[in-house]
C-alpha cells in the first residue's frame, strides 16, 4: 500500500518520528481499535486515534449526548445534545479524518455481546465508568487474549494500566472484584474536572498507538496514577496475582458474566 500525497501530508508529523515512520503509519492505518464508552475518556482517545490515522475504530455506547456531558466529553458539541453518542462521535472523528472507518455499536456492553464486540479488534480501550463494565471488559479481554487499556478518573485524579496477554497482570489481579454498588463514589456523585479525563484518555490513546507501532514501554505491570491537584504522576509496580480468578493459576472465571449495576448509573 502506497501513501497518497494527502496521507503523506496529513501524517507527516507521525512519519517523521523514527519510532513511527512509514512502517508505523501503515500499522496504524491497518489497526483496529475498539473504544468502549464515548464519554470523558473515550472522547479524547477517539479524537486522537482518529487523527493519528488508526484505520478502523469501533465505538460502543448505548447513550445519548446530555448537556452535562459537554464539560468533559469533548467529541460532542452543543448541537449534538440528544443525539446518539456513537453517531455524534463518528461525525466528529470523520470530520477530523475522513480517511478512516468508524464502526458504531449503539448498545450496552454485557456478557452476551462483549466477546462478539471485541473479536474484530486488535486493542480495546476501556472508557467506561462503572465497575461491572470494567470487570466485564477485563475478563472478556483476558479470555479472548486481547490487549486493553484500563483507565479510571474521579475528581482531580486518574489511573491507567495496560493489559497485554502474557506480559503482566490484569485489572482483576489488582482489584479482585467490584466494590458493592454505591460503595465507591462515581463521577456523577463526586465530580471530575474535564481536563483530567482529557489527560487520562489521551494517555490511553498513547498506549494504543505504542502497542500498534510496537515501540516504547507499555504500562504492563504498572498502575500509573495521576493527581492533578499535586500535579503528580506515579508509576506503581503491580504484580501478577497467582490467585487471580481470571488470569491466575487456577482460573474460576471461564466465560464473561455480569455483576449488578450501581444505582448511580440508572437514570
Amino acid at each position: 500500500m502506497a501513501f497518497t500525497n494527502e496521507q503523506l501530508e496529513r501524517y507527516s508529523r507521525n512519519i517523521i518520528l523514527s519510532e513511527v515512520g512509514v512502517k508505523g503509519q501503515k500499522k496504524l492505518l491497518n489497526a483496529r481499535v475498539l473504544i468502549v464508552g464515548a464519554g470523558g475518556l473515550g472522547a479524547p482517545a477517539a479524537l486522537y486515534l482518529a487523527a493519528a490515522g488508526v484505520g478502523t475504530i469501533g465505538i460502543a455506547d448505548a447513550d445519548e449526548v446530555d448537556l452535562s456531558n459537554l464539560q468533559r466529553q469533548i467529541i460532542h458539541t452543543t448541537p449534538d445534545v440528544g443525539k446518539a453518542k456513537v453517531q455524534s462521535a463518528k461525525e466528529t472523528m470523520l470530520a477530523i479524518n475522513p480517511g478512516i472507518t468508524v464502526n458504531t455499536y449503539r448498545t450496552f456492553v454485557a456478557s452476551d455481546n462483549v466477546m462478539e464486540l471485541i473479536a474484530d479488534y486488535d486493542f480495546i480501550l476501556d472508557g467506561t465508568d462503572n465497575f461491572p463494565a470494567k470487570f466485564l471488559i477485563n475478563d472478556a479481554c483476558v479470555l479472548a487474549g486481547k490487549p486493553f487499556s484500563h483507565a479510571g478518573i474521579i475528581r482531580f485524579r486518574g489511573q491507567l494500566m495496560t493489559y497485554v496477554p502474557g506480559r503482566g497482570p490484569c485489572y482483576r489481579c489488582v482489584f479482585k472484584e467490584p466494590p458493592p454498588p454505591d460503595a465507591v463514589p462515581t463521577c456523577r456523585q463526586a465530580g471530575v474536572i474535564g481536563a483530567v479525563a482529557g489527560v487520562i484518555g489521551s494517555l490511553q490513546a498513547l498506549e494504543a498507538v505504542k502497542y500498534i507501532v510496537g515501540k516504547g514501554e507499555l504500562l504492563t505491570g504498572y498502575l500509573l496514577t495521576y493527581d492533578a491537584l499535586k500535579m503528580e504522576f506515579r508509576k506503581i509496580r503491580v504484580p501478577l496475582a497467582r490467585d487471580c480468578a481470571v488470569c491466575g493459576e487456577h482460573p474460576t472465571i471461564l466465560k464473561p458474566f455480569d455483576y449488578e449495576q450501581a444505582e448511580c448509573d440508572l437514570k
Binding site: G37, G39, A62, Q73, T128, P179, P239
Partner: protein, 74 residues
C-alpha cells in the same frame, strides 16, 4: 522503623500491621483498598495479621471509575 508509604519515606512505630497503617494513614474507603507491600499484594483478609518491617514499601491502590457515567452498562 522506616517505611515508604505511597512513595514517601516516613518513620513509624515498630510492630505496625497493614490494618493499623490503613487506620493511621486515614485511607479512603479502607474496605476496598488494594494494598501491596514490596510489590506483592496483601489480600484484605490478611491486613490484620500482616506485620510491616523496617524498609518495607507500601502502596495503596484505589478503585476509580471513569469517563462514562451515563448507563453504558445495563
Amino acid at each position: 522503623m522506616k517505611l515508604t508509604v505511597a512513595g514517601i519515606p516516613k518513620e513509624y512505630a515498630d510492630g505496625l500491621t497493614v490494618a493499623k497503617l490503613i487506620e493511621l494513614e486515614q485511607v479512603e474507603t479502607p474496605e476496598y483498598v488494594t494494598v501491596s507491600v514490596n510489590d506483592e499484594f496483601i489480600r484484605s483478609s490478611a491486613f490484620a495479621e500482616t506485620a510491616l518491617k523496617d524498609g518495607d514499601s507500601v502502596e495503596f491502590l484505589y478503585f476509580m471509575g471513569g469517563g462514562q457515567c451515563d448507563g453504558l452498562y445495563q
